[in-house]
């Protein structure tokens, strides 16, 4: 909160450009004991809490074309992300697209140029022959702080200032 307040006190309406630069989102892909486990497709995006343009943070999918069907075909399984952001993008997208990841915790920085305000960070996961899960974390920038957890395809999703 303090950068904004300082800015107001200083009598300027300029919002500091780097209010959220130190915030990141940490996503846990849980270990699921299955003989035929496939790494999930996972996407994260941020949108204004009151509605508005969604902005993709990351999408992990089958980047390498390993057969007849390119990995992009299944991106629409990330149904919410696909509707709100994915289908309007050119993929792969620099700084957003990545390969699928196995179980573990992964940290992704929030964009540095988001204006202060209320947002919702969404993380959606879908796994072949598995389920689809959406985890939403409301946050207020610049003091980004929030967490939620999935039940099946996603573990903890933590948004925190570093």
């Amino acid at each position: 909160m303090s950068p904004t307040r300082l800015a107001l006190v200083a009598g300027t309406i300029i919002v500091p450009a780097s209010v959220a630069s130190a915030a990141s989102i940490t996503v846990t892909v849980p270990r699921i004991d299955l003989a035929e486990y496939k790494k999930p497709y996972v996407a994260g995006w941020i949108e204004p809490a009151g509605g508005g343009q969604a902005r993709s943070l990351f999408v992990w999918y089958q980047l390498r074309n390993g057969g007849k069907e390119p990995g992009t075909k299944w991106l629409s399984e990330l149904r919410s992300w696909w509707r709100k952001s994915g289908r309007m993008m050119q993929l792969p997208a620099d700084g957003v697209s990545g390969a699928t990841r196995g179980p573990g915790s992964y940290s992704v920085a929030l964009p540095a140029n988001l204006p202060a305000g209320n947002y919702v960070v969404h993380v959606e996961a879908a796994r072949e022959h598995g389920t689809r899960e959406l985890v939403s974390v409301p946050v207020t920038l610049p003091a980004a702080n929030g967490r939620a957890s999935g039940k099946a395809e996603l573990g903890a999703v933590v948004v925190a200032a570093k």
Partner: protein, 309 residues
């Protein structure tokens, strides 16, 4: 496959007289696709229960495809069965596709030499007008496609029966007391590959049309979609809209949402849950495109896939 209007179809006759009693639909296997090499398959039928195959097929020949760039697309693997038509569509463009069926018929009566005759497709001597549909609902009922002709000339049971209907084109010049109704039924669904586009929604300004404000392939459970309806390009105020979630055979309540458009022709639909939904609307006026007809009955039906939030 490419004809926009199938001039004489007995199915259109049946559908238009009771568009909200049975539910004509074109049901896609998917409406929101990623990638660039997709095939979508469709069922097209009219049924008592929404999205079941219990009544009749939509005529395969009446199906039209509009590509995202506005050009005409083609279906393949077409099959018309007793209860449904089936076909596939290869999506070779990014954007929103429209798959539709439009049928237009003219029915009614006239007199010639004092004798009243009916106008409509030949239907084996059963009266035109659709009020007697129940008789044809049994197995192998008389709703199989017939290729025209005066079916009532042959009368296996013998005895007197009514004259067969006269095709509209054959109404004689000396006919009097002409009372004709134009019936136009339209069935649509929309499929988007990649980013949604709006070319296929451009109104033609003719008849009852959907002019969506919310993109049909961006409808979500818990959110409100807004669709405008137009008649001849003008807002259709006070139009009754019926919205039914699929699968009503497996619940006691049909679950119909009965809605009405406002003065601006807009209806707001809040989707209670994800799934496939059927929407139907009917309107009637005295502005037929066929000059010899007195009035016009229009029906519109569409299928929407409502996504999880």
């Amino acid at each position: 496959m490419m004809r926009r209007i199938v001039a004489t179809s007995l199915f259109a006759l049946l559908a238009s007289s009771a568009a909200l009693a049975d539910h004509p639909f074109i049901l896609p296997s998917n409406t929101s696709l990623a990638g660039d090499d997709n095939v979508v398959t469709f069922d097209a039928a009219a049924s008592d229960h929404v999205f079941f195959f219990d009544h009749r097929p939509v005529q395969l020949a009446s199906i039209t495809v509009t590509k995202p760039d506005g050009s005409t697309g083609e279906t393949y693997n077409g099959m018309q069965g007793r209860f449904r038509s089936v076909f596939d569509l290869k999506l070779d463009q990014q954007g929103t596709w429209k798959v539709a069926s439009q049928q237009s018929t003219i029915t009614g009566t006239f007199k010639q030499n004092g004798e009243e005759r009916r106008v409509g497709p030949a239907r084996g001597g059963r009266p035109a007008g659709g009020g007697e549909r129940g008789a044809a609902d049994g197995p192998g009922g008389g709703e199989q496609p017939r290729t025209g002709g005066d079916a009532a000339v042959a009368n296996p049971e013998g005895g007197p029966r009514r004259q067969p209907p006269v095709a509209f084109e054959n109404v004689p010049a000396d006919a009097t007391d002409i009372h004709l109704t134009e019936r136009v039924s339209k069935i649509e669904t929309f499929v988007t590959q990649g980013a949604p586009t709006a070319t296929v929604f451009k109104p033609t300004g003719k008849g009852l049309e959907l002019d969506p404000i919310t993109h049909p392939n961006a409808v979500v459970a818990g959110e409100t979609a807004r669709f405008r309806f137009l008649i001849d390009g003008k807002p259709a105020a006070g139009l009754k809209i019926s919205v039914i979630p699929g699968g009503d055979r497996y619940r006691d309540d049909v679950g119909e949402m009965a809605l009405t458009t406002g003065a601006d022709g807009v209806v707001a639909i809040r989707w209670p849950a994800a799934g496939m939904y059927w929407l139907g609307a009917e309107a009637e006026d005295s502005k037929p495109s066929e000059k010899r007809a007195e009035n016009r009955q229009m029906s519109y039906a569409a299928t929407f896939e409502v996504m999880t939030p």
